[in-house]
C-alpha cells in the first residue's frame, strides 16, 4: 500500500523512468524497481519511525513537487567555494542534471575517473554496477544495518545524475574535486535526487567538496544519496556546504565502507533550507579503519536541521571521532542522533562522539539522542552533549574590556563555530567556511 505522501513520487517514476540515467540497463532497472517498491511500501518517514522521531516531513508533503524538465537554466556566476585555480576538476549539476558547459574536468589519466555518473553508466556500466546500490542497500537486504531508509529507496528509484569518482590503486588527486549542486526553481516546486558514487581503491587519495545552493528562490527538494567505498589505506576528505534557500528541503544519505587502515574524514556545514537532514552511515570493516564525522550548523527562524549518524565497528582496532557543533536562534530546531555499534568481534574499538549546541533563544530547541550499542568487551567508547546559552562569564569579560554586547556575542559565537573548521585539511576551503560564518552573524 502506498501512503498518501509517497504517491506523487511513485507516479513520477512512471513518467520519468525512460529519461533517467542508465536507461536500458536491465540491472539498473531492476535496482530502481526494487527501490520504488521499497519506497512505496514504506512511504515517507513519519515521527512514528524511530529514526525520524524528531524530524517531521509533513511540511514536505504539503508541497506539490514537479520534476525538472531538463531545460537549461542560465547561470551567471558559478558559486564556487574555492579561489580561482584551486581546483582542476569542477562538476556542476543543475536540478540533478549534469552541465558540461559549466563544468571543468582535467583530461583523465590512467586510474583516475572523474565525471558524471550518467556518463559512466554509458561508458562503463559494469564498473558502476559493481558498487551502485551495493554499499547502501536500498531494495532487499532485510535486517541489514541501518535498516529502513525510505528516502534512500526513493533516490534509488528516481536517482538522477551526480558525481562518479573512481581512483585506481595508489592514484592521488592533489587538488579538491568540487561538485556544485544548484537547485533552480521559481513558481513550480521541484524535486531532484542526486546520486554520487565514490570508489577509492587501495592507497588512493582524494578531496571532494560538495556545495549545495539555490537559484530562483523557489521550493526544491534535494534528496541526495552518496555511496563511498574506501579500499585499504585509502584516504577521502569529504567536505560539504549546504546553503540552499529558505524554501528548500534537503535530505542527504551517505553510506561509506572503510577498509583496512583507510580514513574517511567528513565535515559538513549546514546553514540553508527550512528543513535539512544529513544522515551518514559508516561501516568500519577493515582493521585500523578510521573515520572523522564532523559538522557545524547555524540555523534561525523556523529552520530545522537534523544530523543522524551511524558508525559500525565491525572488526578489531577501528576508531571514530564525531564532533558536531551548532548555533540555534529564534525558533530553530536541531536534532542530533548519533549511534555507535561495536560488533562482538570488534575489540579495541575506539569511538567518541560529541554534540555541542549553543541556544541563543529560549524558543530554540535541540533534541539529542546518543546511542551506544556495544557487544565487545575491550572498547573505548564515549558520548557527550552540551546545550546552552553563551558563556555568561566570557561575555561579561569581553564587555568589561569595552566590547559592546552584540559584537561580544558575535565574537563568542564565531569562536565556537570556527573551532570546528580548524581541522579542515583543504586550506583553500577555509576562507569560504569562515566567510559563511561571518555572513550568518552579520545578518543577525
Amino acid at each position: 500500500m502506498t501512503t498518501a505522501g509517497a504517491q506523487p513520487f511513485v507516479e513520477q517514476y512512471g513518467a520519468l523512468k525512460g529519461a533517467l540515467p542508465g536507461v536500458g540497463l536491465p540491472w539498473l532497472a531492476e535496482l530502481r524497481e526494487a527501490g520504488l517498491a521499497r519506497f512505496a511500501s514504506l512511504g515517507l518517514p513519519t515521527p512514528r519511525d524511530e529514526s525520524w522521531k524528531y524530524t517531521n516531513l509533513r511540511p514536505l508533503e504539503k508541497v506539490a513537487f514537479g520534476t525538472p524538465n531538463g531545460e537549461a537554466v542560465s547561470i551567471d556566476r558559478l558559486p564556487s567555494l574555492l579561489p580561482a585555480g584551486a581546483s582542476e576538476n569542477r562538476l556542476v549539476f543543475v536540478n540533478g542534471h549534469y552541465r558540461a558547459d559549466l563544468s571543468t574536468l582535467k583530461s583523465l589519466r590512467e586510474g583516475v575517473e572523474i565525471g558524471s555518473l550518467a556518463a559512466s553508466l554509458e561508458r562503463s556500466p559494469e564498473t558502476v554496477a559493481e558498487y551502485l546500490g551495493q554499499i547502501a542497500p536500498a531494495g532487499g537486504a532485510a535486517g541489514e544495518q541501518p535498516g529502513e531508509q525510505p528516502l534512500l529507496a526513493l533516490n534509488t528509484a528516481l536517482s538522477g545524475d551526480g558525481l562518479m569518482l573512481r581512483l585506481g590503486r595508489g592514484a592521488k588527486v592533489k587538488t579538491p574535486i568540487e561538485v556544485i549542486f544548484i537547485g533552480a526553481a521559481t513558481e513550480q516546486a521541484l524535486a531532484y535526487h542526486p546520486r554520487n558514487l565514490i570508489v577509492l581503491e587501495p592507497e588512493s587519495q582524494a578531496v571532494v567538496i560538495e556545495h549545495h545552493v539555490s537559484l530562483g528562490g523557489g521550493a526544491t527538494f534535494a534528496n541526495s544519496a552518496t555511496e563511498i567505498e574506501l579500499g585499504d589505506g585509502a584516504l577521502l576528505h569529504h567536505y560539504k556546504m549546504q546553503a540552499e534557500g529558505p524554501e528548500t528541503f534537503h535530505v542527504s544519505t551517505v553510506h561509506a565502507r572503510v577498509g583496512r587502515d583507510a580514513h574517511y574524514d567528513s565535515f559538513g556545514m549546514s546553514l540553508g533550507s527550512r528543513l535539512s537532514r544529513n544522515e551518514v552511515s559508516v561501516r568500519l570493516n577493515g582493521q585500523g579503519a578510521n573515520c572523522h564525522l564532523n559538522g557545524a550548523y547555524m540555523v534561525r527562524g523556523k529552520q530545522h536541521c537534523d544530523t543522524t549518524t551511524l558508525v559500525e565497528h565491525l572488526v578489531p582496532r577501528t576508531s571514530c571521532r564525531e564532533v558536531f557543533k551548532g548555533v540555534l536562534d529564534d525558533e530553530a530546531r536541531a536534532v542530533f542522533q548519533g549511534r555507535i555499534v561495536v560488533h562482538p568481534d570488534a575489540q579495541q574499538s575506539d569511538g567518541h562522539q560529541l554534540s555541542k549546541a549553543m541556544l541563543l533563544s529560549e524558543r530554540a530547541e535541540i533534541d539529542i539522542k546518543p546511542e551506544l550499542e556495544i557487544y565487545a568487551d575491550d572498547v573505548k567508547c564515549s558520548h557527550g552533549a552540551t546545550a546552552g546559552d553563551l558563556d555568561h562569564d566570557a561575555l561579561f569579560y569581553l564587555r568589561s574590556r569595552g566590547l559592546p554586547e552584540r559584537p561580544a556575542r558575535r565574537l563568542l559565537i564565531e569562536a565556537f563555530l570556527t573551532e570546528s573548521i580548524e581541522a579542515i585539511a583543504a586550506e583553500d576551503l577555509c576562507p569560504a567556511f569562515l566567510a559563511s560564518i561571518a555572513d550568518w552573524l552579520k545578518t543577525d
Partner: protein, 249 residues
C-alpha cells in the same frame, strides 16, 4: 576620581556590602584588605557592572558621573578597568584578536580612529616586551591553557594596552609565586600616573610590599572597619583579621 557613598549591595537576597564609603583622588592608590567573605570581590564586581549584584542603597560616582547607571562596556571605555581574580578562558578567540577588539572598541567609543593590524601589532609588541610576556601568549586562545601567572600577566597586558583612569585589581596576587608577583607589581607601578587611580584588593599584605598604597582600608563583614596609611598593612600582617571579625559581627 571615585566616590563610593553608603553603598549597600545584596547578592541573592543576602546583604554583602553594608554601607561602604570610600573616596579615591586622582593619582592615589588605595588598598582594600580583608578576610575571605568580607565582600572584597563584590566591591570589585560592582564597579564593573557584573550581573547578579543588586545595589539597594547608596551610589558610586566616577569622575562625577553615576557609575552604576553605565553598562560594563561603557565603564570600560570611560576608563574603568578590572583585573580579574579569575580571568576567564575564551576558547577559539586568539588573544591578539581579543586585545585588538578591546582596544578598538574603546577607541570607537571615544571617537578615535581604530588601529589597523600593523599599528596594533607595533603597540602590543612594545607592551609585551615591557612586561616580559612571551610572544607566543598572543597567539593562543584567551587565557586557555595559561598558568595562573600567565593569566595575571595577561590581565596586566590588557591594563597596559587599555590605559585606564581607574584600575581595580581584584586579588591579583592570589596564586602567584614571588617572580610573577613582582612582574605584576612592575606592571602596576609602570602605570602609576598623576591622573590614574587604583584600587588594589588583596587578602595579603605581601603585594603591598611591591605596590605601595597611599591608603589602606580594612573591609570586614561588609563594612570598612578601619582606614589608615601604608603602615596599617604591616600591622595587619602581624595581628591578622581576628579582631575585625568581632568588630563586624
Amino acid at each position: 576620581m571615585l566616590e563610593i557613598k553608603n553603598l549597600h549591595v545584596t547578592v541573592e537576597d543576602k546583604e554583602i556590602l553594608k554601607g561602604i564609603d570610600l573616596t579615591i583622588m586622582p593619582g592615589e592608590i588605595h588598598a582594600v584588605m580583608g578576610p575571605n567573605g568580607s565582600g572584597k570581590s563584590t566591591l570589585a564586581y560592582i564597579m564593573t557592572g557584573r550581573e547578579g549584584y543588586e545595589v539597594t542603597e547608596g551610589e558610586v560616582l566616577y569622575q562625577g558621573r553615576d557609575l552604576l547607571a553605565m553598562a560594563p562596556e561603557e565603564r570600560a571605555a570611560e576608563g574603568v578597568f578590572l583585573a580579574f581574580q579569575y580571568p576567564v578562558e575564551i576558547p577559539g578567540v586568539p588573544n591578539t584578536t581579543f586585545l585588538k577588539e578591546a582596544v578598538n572598541a574603546q577607541r570607537r567609543h571615544r571617537g578615535e580612529d581604530e588601529l589597523d593590524a600593523m599599528q596594533f601589532l607595533k603597540v602590543v609588541r612594545q607592551k609585551v616586551k615591557e612586561l616580559g610576556i612571551a610572544d607566543e601568549m598572543l597567539k593562543r586562545a584567551v587565557n586557555v591553557g595559561f598558568s595562573g601567572g600567565e593569566k595575571k600577566r595577561n590581565e596586566m597586558l590588557q591594563m597596559a594596552l587599555l590605559e585606564p583612569r581607574l584600575a581595580v585589581l581584584d586579588e591579583t596576587d592570589s596564586g602567584l609565586d614571588i617572580d610573577a608577583l613582582k612582574a605584576v607589581a612592575d606592571g602596576v607601578n609602570a602605570l602609576r600616573a598623576p591622573d590614574r587611580s587604583m584600587l588594589v584588593i588583596t587578602h595579603y599584605q605581601r603585594l603591598l610590599d611591591y605596590i605601595v598604597p597611599d591608603k589602606v582600608h580594612v573591609l570586614a563583614g561588609g563594612r570598612i572597619v578601619r582606614s589608615g596609611g601604608k603602615d596599617l598593612a604591616r600591622e595587619l600582617e602581624r595581628t591578622g583579621y581576628a579582631e575585625f571579625a568581632t568588630v563586624a559581627a
